[in-house]
């Protein structure tokens, strides 16, 4: 990076867990249901009702925490976070305060400058609030509240300030999303709000003044309202530059510790952050243990069981794909793993039949594009792994060139036929050595002069003969084999 400062970022991510029901009642959690249709006296916070913890939510939390290499507390409790807001009908949120169920983990990400480990401070469970919709026309219309989301289980994952660039923040989020999807914890759809992210940003500047050189840190800004992974990156980049300018204007006072932490909203349309409020004015949440819920005890056996059920995680997959027998490049391994477990399994099957490098090329060059075009998942794709493997093998054996092979592939896809049938139907005849030798001998006859020139030392003269043979095979002959046979035939001719 060529900037005169270092970006320091910590991310707070909230993901909705894929439970059938809410965290403390049996209401459904379907996205997009009519307003206030998924509510009951418990999530409405009516008098006298009591919460009961959803076991499945806790299990999903454990899965995520273990996949993030977190320590698991053997004793954890629920706390009340008290604040007033109409979309939180109890006027307290059940969350975890001083004893989160998991802490001290990490997530490894592959960045342009190699692998980086991002520390996780803690991951805890809490209930979501509802949604308020305010009249923004300025005419003072009624606000509306939809409590369908109230009580949906959320996992809050707080990273250490280990992220050093906007790009790394995006990579971290993509990796986290991939991981949580792969282990069935959350669908992580930022558009639907099942993954939300706040970014804590400041910068460190190497600053020279009369007092010598020092590293100056700017005040923290928490950026909210980030609706896509791209906007997280853009907001961080913008905010870093804004902070650098602010520091340049007032290097004495625009400092961490001198100014309070502020909250800013990201305005995607205008591409800028806008200060919302000073954090220290925020409410005193008066946390205390929720007396309606009992502490949760997690045993070593439970932890082992969850670990066993996790399966291979994306980072482990990447490592495996880079080792023998696959020996993929770091880039290829990253791209394949990024498509999920099913894609990796498909790749492995194709690679086993053909070879890893070709299998990977075919996937990244052709199959990904087809899937996108057809809006399909790999498990719905009509060309199954054995057929793609066969295509690759036929292509090699018959010496079918790239563009021709693509025609075969398109035919397989369009007509749902196997590789051999498609090749036959396209009239791509295989050329064995005898057929090739016939063509070569004819070409030598027709280009006597060129052959003699070659014999005299004009290396290039033979290209003409080679071209003639290639034309005759209509591009279906294997160039290397043709070249070899041609040289052998030419060698037999007396100069």
């Amino acid at each position: 990076m060529n900037t005169p400062y270092q970006i320091i970022v910590g991310l707070e991510v909230h993901v909705q867990l894929m439970t059938k029901t809410k965290l403390f009642c049996s209401c459904k959690t379907v996205f997009g249901a009519p307003p206030n249709s998924q509510v009951c006296p418990i999530c409405l916070g009516m008098p006298g009702v009591l919460p009961v913890m959803n076991e499945q939510a806790f299990q999903l939390g454990l899965r995520a925490a273990l996949a993030l290499n977190c320590q698991i507390a053997n004793f954890t409790k629920w706390d009340r976070k008290n604040y007033y807001y109409p979309d939180l009908p109890k006027n307290y949120q059940i969350s975890q305060y001083d004893l989160p169920f998991s802490y001290e983990g990490y997530l490894d990400i592959d960045t342009s400058s190699g692998s980086r480990r991002i520390g996780i401070i803690r991951a805890h469970l809490e209930e979501d609030a509802g949604k308020s919709m305010h009249d923004e026309s300025g005419r003072g219309g009624d606000s509306k509240v939809d409590l369908n989301r109230t009580g949906t289980p959320l996992l809050e994952i707080v990273s250490k300030p280990d992220i050093r660039s906007a790009e790394d923040a995006e990579t971290y989020l993509r990796e986290l999303r991939l991981l949580l999807r792969e282990i069935g914890v959350s669908d992580c759809e930022m558009q639907e709000g099942s993954l939300r992210c706040d970014a804590n940003v400041n910068i460190h500047i190497l600053y020279s003044s009369d007092n010598g050189e020092e590293i100056a840190a700017t005040p923290l800004v928490e950026i909210k309202n980030l609706n896509s992974i791209g906007s997280v990156g853009r907001a961080i980049q913008y905010e870093a530059e804004r902070q650098y300018e602010a520091f340049q204007k007032d290097p004495k006072n625009y400092r961490f510790g001198k100014l309070l932490k502020t909250t800013a909203g990201w305005n995607e349309a205008r591409g800028m952050t806008q200060v919302q409020r000073h954090k220290e004015e925020a409410a005193d949440y008066r946390y205390f243990p929720d007396p309606d819920l009992v502490p949760v005890v997690v045993t070593a056996e439970q932890i082992e069981e969850v670990k066993r059920s996790l399966g291979e995680l994306p980072s482990q997959q990447r490592t495996r794909l880079q080792a023998a027998p696959f020996s993929l490049s770091a880039y290829d391994a990253q791209v394949l793993t990024g498509q999920g477990r099913k894609m990796v399994a498909y790749f492995e099957e194709v690679a086993k039949i053909s070879d890893p490098k070709s299998a990977c090329n075919w996937l990244t060059n052709e199959v990904f594009a087809s899937l996108k075009e057809r809006s399909e998942e790999i498990d719905q794709f009509p060309i199954r792994a054995p057929q793609l493997g066969e295509l690759i093998n036929e292509m090699k054996q018959l010496g079918i060139k790239r563009e021709k092979a693509r025609d075969v592939y398109q035919k397989m896809l369009a007509e749902n036929v196997d590789a051999k049938t498609a090749i036959d139907q396209l009239g791509y005849k295989p050329f064995d050595d005898n057929l090739l030798l016939d063509l070569i001998r004819k070409a030598i006859e027709g280009n006597r002069k060129a052959v003699l020139d070659y014999k005299k030392g004009n290396e290039k003269a033979l290209d003409r003969v080679f071209g003639t043979v290639m034309r005759e095979t209509k591009g279906m002959g294997r160039p290397d084999r043709i070249k070899q046979l041609l040289l052998e035939e030419v060698a037999k001719i007396e100069a």
């Binding site: 009591l50 008290n82 008066r286």
Partner: protein
């Protein structure tokens, strides 16, 4: 035949042998309410038509030879803190004046399954905060033994209803003595079960870690009967413990052999009325005459009980009562120019003074900078209070003492002195903090004719033993048979 002075078990027997019908029972108690509740003011809400309907259904069921529950045809008055589907549930507050819950509390469900007659909602201190029913937003209930005096609280309406023979049974809730104190002051039996013995689902929370539902009855056998109906596991209350419920009636008449009674010197200190003290001493002699051993014990941390209670209970209340903000249900102010004024005016208008006082106390105890010194310290002392009891119960079966330091006081006597009011619960509070079982039984009268209560405390889930100890005394005495002249 007059039924109103009889116990639930007696009434049940008369029904079983065909002497009376549920409808006749209901009519007699409704008539008692009609005649006397104008003076006693035990009930906030009573629906005679609905009560007679319930009774007729029970009679019909009996006629058809269908199996009947343990409380078939027996009226049970309900403290207005317990949610009953389709019935106004106000919690003694203006805040919930028009609140009708769409669900039943667990104990109400149990009463319905036992074929009991749900016999109206009784008066209480607002949100169960008080010791006299003077904090009710509606009116003050009178002590049936002397209508110039309070019945105790917060379950004063339920206690007065049973004492005045307006219902044979009632349910109350006890957070710091709210069943035992009014039972004692009204000369009846009241039980605060072990924390977790009875589900709190549908009980409008005051202090969640202390609240329990329990019975008011004329005698110990009825209390055992009602305890059998309401106890047991409920998956909807995570704090409700899954411990089997013994038949409290089965062994009730068996005295406890080699009974050792703990007497804590801390329960006989300054502030204890001399008439109350001599009644308790006489009760101890009754037990001694039956062969019980009296053992002096100490509960050294009980002197902090009131202080700890008013931190823990108010802290929890400040959060439990946050939901009453006029947004989704309950009282909503007309003065709402923005969100904050809508909140503060709704709450300011809907809550009474004592409730507001406790919300402020609790919010303060939890706020940052004070939480360590108040709330968290209180939790530590609460643990020490529990340890005191654990130690004591290692050496004795039950602990006996006065339920309240004095007999019923005059209406208005302590209304302007919250601290004096708080001290009327000085002997009952530690039981809630420790989560143990406790009850009050009538053990005498003052010269002025006011009832005196004997408190019996037992280790967690030792209700059966506690009831048998209470029954031993009852069999030797006749205090439980007296009824006030109305």
């Amino acid at each position: 035949m007059s039924l109103i002075e009889k116990t639930a078990l007696e009434i049940r027997e008369l029904q079983n042998n065909g002497s009376v019908t549920a409808e006749e029972i209901a009519k007699q108690f409704l008539s008692q309410v009609k005649t006397h509740d104008g003076q006693i003011k035990a009930f906030l809400h009573i629906d005679p038509e609905n009560i007679l309907d319930q009774a007729k259904k029970i009679d019909e069921k009996r006629k058809q030879g269908k199996a009947l529950g343990a409380l078939a045809g027996i009226p049970v008055a309900i403290k207005d803190v317990l949610c009953c589907r389709g019935v106004p549930t106000t919690c003694g507050s203006k805040m919930l004046q028009n609140f009708v819950p769409p669900y039943d509390a667990f104990v109400i469900d149990r009463l319905k399954k036992a074929d009991a007659i749900l016999f109206g909602k009784t008066n209480m201190d607002e949100f169960a905060m008080g010791s006299s029913t003077e904090n009710s937003a509606y009116f003050t209930t009178r002590n049936p033994w002397d209508t110039t005096r309070i019945p105790g609280g917060s379950s004063g309406g339920s206690a007065a209803a049973v004492a005045a023979c307006e219902a044979p049974l009632a349910l109350g809730t006890d957070t710091g003595g709210s069943i035992r104190q009014p039972a004692g002051l009204c000369g009846i039996v009241g039980i605060k079960p072990t924390y977790g013995r009875v589900s709190r689902f549908g009980l409008i929370a005051f202090a969640s870690s202390l609240d329990q539902v329990g019975p008011f009855t004329h005698d110990v056998a009825d209390a055992a009967l009602l305890m059998e109906v309401i106890s047991g596991h409920d998956a909807k209350d995570s704090t409700c413990v899954n411990v089997p419920v013994p038949s409290y009636l089965a062994q009730l008449d068996q005295p406890i052999k080699n009974l050792t009674i703990g007497v804590a010197k801390e329960f006989f200190g300054e502030g204890l009325d001399s008439e109350v003290e001599s009644s308790i001493r006489s009760a101890l002699k009754v037990y001694q005459s039956m062969g019980a051993t009296i053992k002096e014990i100490s509960l050294p941390h009980s002197k902090y009980s009131v202080a700890v209670y008013y931190l823990v209970a108010t802290a929890e209340a400040s959060s439990n009562l946050a939901r009453y903000d006029g947004m989704h249900y309950g009282h909503r102010t007309a003065q709402k120019k923005d969100l904050i004024s809508a909140y503060s005016n709704s709450r300011g208008e809907g809550f009474g003074k004592e409730v507001q006082r406790r919300i402020m106390l609790g919010s303060y105890a939890l706020s940052s900078g004070y939480k360590d010194a108040y709330y968290l310290k209180a939790l530590k002392v609460r643990r020490l209070i529990k340890n005191d009891f654990d130690k004591a119960f290692a050496d004795c079966d039950v602990i006996l003492g006065p339920t309240s330091p004095t007999a019923a006081f005059k209406i208005g006597e302590k209304a302007d002195n919250p601290l004096a009011m708080y001290l009327s619960d000085i002997y009952t509070i530690s039981c809630n903090l420790a989560g143990i079982a406790g009850m009050s039984i009538p053990c005498g009268f003052t010269k002025g004719g006011l009832p005196i209560g004997l408190q019996i405390l037992a280790a967690p889930f030792e209700e059966e033993k506690m009831l048998r100890v209470a029954r031993m005394f009852e069999k030797q005495t006749e205090y439980h048979q007296r009824r006030p002249k109305l």
